[in-house]
């Protein structure tokens, strides 16, 4: 995949470039807003990673605005040292597709990038989702594995739905908290881990193969082969 990284701090940029390239992506780096805008408009990209605060008073949000006004719908992930709720809302309303506050863990960035890349191919109006012998009926909000109905609470169903929509991808705890509960704070206790283990008990305990896997230090993944 082709990534454009617009980031003025060379250390952060190197860290991101190396990490993404290790994961098989091709990354072009621009250290200022003007170059970034030129390259963002003149070449096709799969994803743009954009720092909000760029040198020469350029605001990353104005770049997003320009791109969106010119019909460029490339997914954009905003990186920012401004981590407050307000700034986040500001960034997403401004046309960003995801917002990640600095400093961040690289796996978190990678997982979010993957989610954004995959989003384009995912049909939102599907009636049914499935992985292996697990089927989710989105209209009746119920799950069946190996022809056996699985009793899920509404929120558990949403959690499972999100995981299955992102099957084969690693999703982090914060991604789940944001997508399934719509919260952006960081709970002190391991609430997400416990939610996952309860869900795992319901969908994996009496079945084979195991579908819901823990990716150590990063998050979770639903897939046939862990």
């Amino acid at each position: 995949m082709y990534f454009l990284l617009i980031e003025d701090d060379s250390d952060t940029a190197r860290y991101i470039c190396n990490g993404l390239e290790e994961n098989g992506h091709t990354v072009a780096w621009c250290s200022n807003g003007a170059d970034g805008l030129t390259r963002a408009t003149s070449e096709p990209w799969d994803l743009i990673i954009l720092d909000r605060m760029l040198p020469q008073k350029a605001d990353g949000l104005s770049i997003i605005k320009f791109l969106r006004n010119n019909g460029k719908m490339t997914p954009i992930l905003i990186l920012s040292a401004l981590g407050s709720l307000d700034e986040r809302v500001h960034g997403l309303r401004g046309g960003g597709d995801d917002y990640l506050a600095k400093p961040f863990a690289f796996p978190e960035l990678l997982a979010r990038c993957d989610a954004l890349l995959r989003r384009g191919g995912m049909r939102d109006d599907a009636q049914e989702l499935s992985i292996a012998d697990l089927k989710l009926d989105l209209r009746r909000r119920c799950a069946i594995r190996a022809s056996q109905p699985i009793a899920l609470q509404p929120r558990e169903f949403r959690l499972l739905e999100y995981l299955v929509r992102h099957q084969g991808q690693v999703v982090t705890r914060t991604m789940l908290l944001e997508a399934v509960w719509d919260y952006h704070f960081d709970p002190q206790t391991n609430v997400i881990d416990v939610q996952i283990s309860r869900l795992r008990n319901k969908i994996d305990k009496n079945f084979s193969p195991a579908l819901l896997h823990t990716v150590r230090g990063v998050g979770y993944l639903i897939g046939i082969h862990g």
Partner: protein, 454 residues
């Protein structure tokens, strides 16, 4: 003078004085035209009427009858000290009257002022000259000496009055200016002391009067109290943050140093790196939480407040914590009376509730019960979170709301969960109270209801 012009007090008093002078002038003008003006007009009218009458008798009886009439008028005892009459024949010889013949006829048939000699004394007369059909000159007039004296008297009175007003307003201007300046100086002096000497304890002296300046000084003093309080708070927070960062930073440093020292293998380096990342992530979380407090205290999020149904809020947060509670054998219980609704920020309120549930799960012995109760009275909404754990001893209850205050050092954490809750509740104009549930802790939050705000 420039210094004076730049003084608002001076300009205000000057404007005031100017207004006084102008009103004195206006008043005097009205008075002048009401008295002297009326007298003058009356004199003119009288002259014109008398001249008309005499001209009429000239038509019927000629100059001779006019002369007789003049003699009669002069001797009737009415206005005898002011009246002026003269009839002179064609050659300019006086036939009848009480003034000497004028040097020249001048303009005819209109009221004019000129010097005359009346009964042998020079004087100023107002008169009307008229040429009778036979060529003789008729003069009807009035001696103006008395009226002119009154006129002069009134002008003098007005002049003295205006001068007095002017002097008073100048004196008043200077007086008011110095008085206001003195009061303002008291405020400025305190402000300069605070700014230059950094003396935050300094207050503006408040006089016994309850005028605007005293009220202003009191308001400013209250503001200074608040600033001093905040500054103390900021200093305290900076100190504690610095102090609380040193410990984990020291830990990270010593681990890394130990790993780099001597012939340690890769394994130890990797372990130290991992340890450092975990510790740094903790610090980032801490900074995020401090930012959250700052954001709540800043109050900008009030702009996006919307009605929040506490029932939905509690249900949602329970759906996040239910698994954790189940796993540890804690029962979550909620009771929502009616539809309690407050104005607020969903995200922040959820965060506050999450912090309270985190605390309850962390500190309550197991098995345990955590209950959330919400109800709406007339204009208040009460939200209770209670548990049956060990609770917080009464003397510690106000301390635990402070940042970095930790009751139980055996548990991990930085001791800012409850300060976040307190800041969020404060942002929502609510009150937070910690009470004894015998056994356990009750966190009582009271908010204004939506109706009471709108």
């Amino acid at each position: 003078m420039d210094r004076f012009w730049k003084s608002a007090a001076f300009r205000l008093s000057l404007i005031c004085g100017g207004l006084v002078v102008v009103s004195v002038i206006l008043l005097s003008t009205a008075f002048y035209f009401g008295t002297v003006g009326v007298l003058m007009r009356g004199a003119n009218d009288k002259i014109i009427t008398a001249a008309d009458r005499l001209a009429q008798s000239a038509k019927s009886g000629g100059a001779a009858q006019v002369a007789t009439r003049i003699e009669q008028l002069l001797n009737d005892g009415v206005d005898s000290d002011t009246e002026i009459y003269l009839l002179a024949d064609v050659e300019g010889k006086p036939v009848a009257g009480n003034i000497a013949m004028l040097d020249d006829a001048g303009s005819l048939d209109r009221v004019i002022d000129r010097n005359v000699v009346r009964n042998g004394r020079p004087s100023i007369g107002r008169m009307l000259l008229h040429r009778l059909p036979d060529g003789s000159l008729l003069v009807v007039g009035r001696d103006m000496s008395d009226l002119n004296e009154i006129n002069a008297l009134i002008w003098r009175a007005i002049g003295i009055g205006a001068l007095l007003a002017l002097v008073l307003s100048v004196v008043g201007t200077v007086f008011f200016r110095s008085r206001i300046e003195r009061k303002i100086w008291a405020i400025r002096y305190a402000a300069l002391d605070i700014e230059e000497a950094g003396n935050l304890k300094r207050r503006i002296p408040v006089s016994g009067e309850s005028d605007e300046f005293a009220r202003l000084s009191k308001d400013l003093n209250r503001m200074l109290d608040r600033i001093e309080h905040l500054m103390t708070g900021v200093r305290h927070v900076s100190n504690t943050i610095a102090h609380n960062l040193r410990t984990p930073l020291g830990r990270i440093r010593s681990h890394l140093e130990e790993a780099l020292r001597g012939q340690t293998g890769d394994e130890k380096l990797v372990a130290a790196g991992r340890f450092a990342i975990i510790e740094i992530d903790d610090l980032i979380t801490l900074l995020d939480k401090l930012l959250q407090i700052a954001e709540a205290e800043l109050g900008t999020r009030r702009q996006i407040f919307e009605p929040i149904r506490l029932g939905d809020l509690v249900t949602n947060i329970f759906e996040l914590y239910d698994a954790a509670a189940e796993a540890t054998g804690v029962t979550l219980n909620k009771q929502i009376d009616g539809n309690p609704t407050i104005r607020g920020d969903k995200e922040l309120l959820a965060s506050a509730l999450a912090n309270l549930l985190d605390n309850a799960l962390k500190y309550t012995g197991r098995p345990a019960l955590i209950g959330v109760f919400a109800t709406q009275q007339a204009d208040r909404v009460t939200l209770l979170v209670h548990d049956d754990g060990p609770g917080i001893p009464a003397p510690e209850r106000s301390n635990v709301l402070q940042r970095f205050y930790r009751l139980d050092h055996s548990q991990p954490g930085y001791g800012i969960g409850l300060s976040i809750v307190a800041a969020i509740i404060h942002l929502h104009e609510g009150t937070l109270q910690l009470e004894d549930a015998t056994p356990g802790l009750i966190v009582r939050m009271v908010f204004p209801s939506v109706e009471s705000i709108t």
